[in-house]
Amino acid sequence: MTHTFAAQLNSLLAALILLSAFALLAQRKIMGLVHIFAWQGLLLSLSTAVIGYASGEHHLYISSLLTLGMKVILLPYILYKLVHKLKIHRDIEAVVNVPTTMLLGIILVVFSYHLTAPIRELSNLMTRSTLAVALATIMLGMLMMVTRRHAVTQILGFLAMENGLFFAATSATYGMPMVVELGVALDLLIAAFIFGIFFFHINTTFESLDVEQMAKLKETD
């Protein structure tokens, strides 16, 4: 495996991660979302491993395995359980229709590219060009949180943002210190449990996981 080939492979993985971020925006079924999220995690894990191999930073292998365990197996499993337990298989209602969301997404990608262009000029890491993709993944995750109504999609958007952050860390600096990564992983796990508990309560209170229901919680008038 040559260095440039690794870079190419990483670019391909970055492109696929970007695609999965868009797929998250486009997907209507909750289970589909969970699957795509797992795929995104897998791609992320692969990309981390590739970067780890190419850069010689071997702690990235651990990150890669951690990602694999957390984002490909554990979190999707928790979400899967949740979806089954709460019996939510309906289509997700979007606040903004899908094509418009896609257009907004493209605008955000271009915006990210525009933002990271100066960094691209300065950095000499082989992963520098994927920074734009990482930033775009964060933005798209946020866009997903903005445009979807269902609470589970909010979480998936949040987790997708985290994926983007992780990717940004690997592509900007070849990863965060191990301690930080472990901490973040633990945080995510706890967040997932807390979300699960919250969903359960929201579901029993409102008999729905539509977050628009929560508008009732605001002040009167």
Binding site: Q8, L9, P99, I106, V109
Partner: protein, 314 residues
């Protein structure tokens, strides 16, 4: 032994004109096999065309000259397109006639006149078919051009010969942009050639047909020409996809050995392509017409992502 370019050109003409029905027939056979039905045989399209040529024409009372002219034009333009896309050799004299944008527009002519012919009789079906066809086309065309532009950007040209030779002879590089563009192209090709999930070429059910609705009133040799042109169009889209995205093995000159090799490579690629299409067609259900914008929108999205990936990642 080396063949003169004009000979290759003629060869390609003959190849496409002659083998397009066989290819279409083979796709049908493959599809039947996959779906567990009895296949009609690979030569069935030839038999259909011959039968139609032998039949008399039945024209509606108020059909105008445009209605009769359209089949010839359709066939003519498709044939011209067949001479432009490099299939087995880069060295095609006609290839410079039209670059890829012009090629898309040539298909545009076919569509334009077919749609007009659909409206000529004045039935509701024809109008419906035309209306839907033009809607789909207008949404597919931007995506098509974006997909092709991505390849153009990579090869720095819109000329098909140039694109093919650049793609065929550059060293192997993973290009996510091209992968996206190819995915987009496949979606658009499904839409443009009227396959599932956009249109069903086998149906004559009133509410689902699009392309068939336009040519419902045709008969005899007119229908034969249109059907033949349709099969050619299907083959041409495969050819275009192969030329733009995976032209490896294509001959640069007129050397017979290389040409034979290119022919084998082409056949193999067509087989693979047909399998992919059959799998898609079998795996998907036909979409409702108003879900199509999303289908084509995702094609556009993929194409755009391809272009963005080209600038960001390459």
């Amino acid at each position: 032994m080396s063949l003169h370019p004009f000979v290759i050109e003629l060869l390609q003409f003959a190849l496409l004109l002659g083998l397009a029905p066989a290819f279409a027939g083979w796709v049908k056979v493959l599809k039947c096999r996959v779906q567990g039905r009895t296949a009609p045989g690979i030569l069935q399209p030839y038999r259909d065309i011959r039968r139609l040529f032998g039949k008399d024409i039945v024209l509606a009372e108020n059909a105008s000259w445009l209605f009769r002219f359209t089949p010839y034009l359709t066939f003519g333009v498709t044939a011209i397109a067949a001479g432009i896309i490099p299939l087995i050799s880069v060295d095609l004299p006609l290839s410079a006639t039209a670059d890829v944008i012009a090629l898309v527009m040539l298909f545009g002519i076919v569509r334009f006149f077919t749609a007009l012919a659909g409206m000529d009789i004045g039935t509701a079906f024809g109008g419906m078919g035309s209306s839907r066809e033009m809607t789909i086309a207008s949404l597919a065309e931007p995506a098509m051009l974006m997909a092709i532009f991505t390849v153009s950007l990579a090869s720095n040209s819109t000329s098909l010969t140039q694109m093919v030779s650049v793609m065929a002879h550059s060293e192997f590089v993973i290009r996510p942009s091209l992968a996206f563009a190819l995915a987009a192209f496949i979606l658009i090709a499904l839409a443009e050639t009227g396959r599932i999930p956009v249109d069903n070429p086998a149906t004559h059910l009133e509410l689902t047909m699009i392309h068939e609705a336009m040519i419902l009133e045709y008969s005899g040799r007119h229908l034969a020409l249109i059907e033949w042109a349709g099969m050619m169009k299907l083959t041409l889209f495969f050819a275009l996809g192969i030329a733009a995205f995976c032209p490896w093995g294509i001959a640069t000159g007129g050397d017979t050995g290389l040409l034979l090799l290119a022919l084998v490579a082409l056949a193999a690629k067509l087989v693979v392509g047909a399998c992919i299409m059959v799998l898609i067609e079998t795996g998907l259900a036909k979409l409702r017409i108003f879900r199509l914008p999303e289908f084509l929108g995702s094609a556009f999205l993929l194409a755009t992502l391809g272009m963005i990936a080209f600038f960001i990642l390459e």
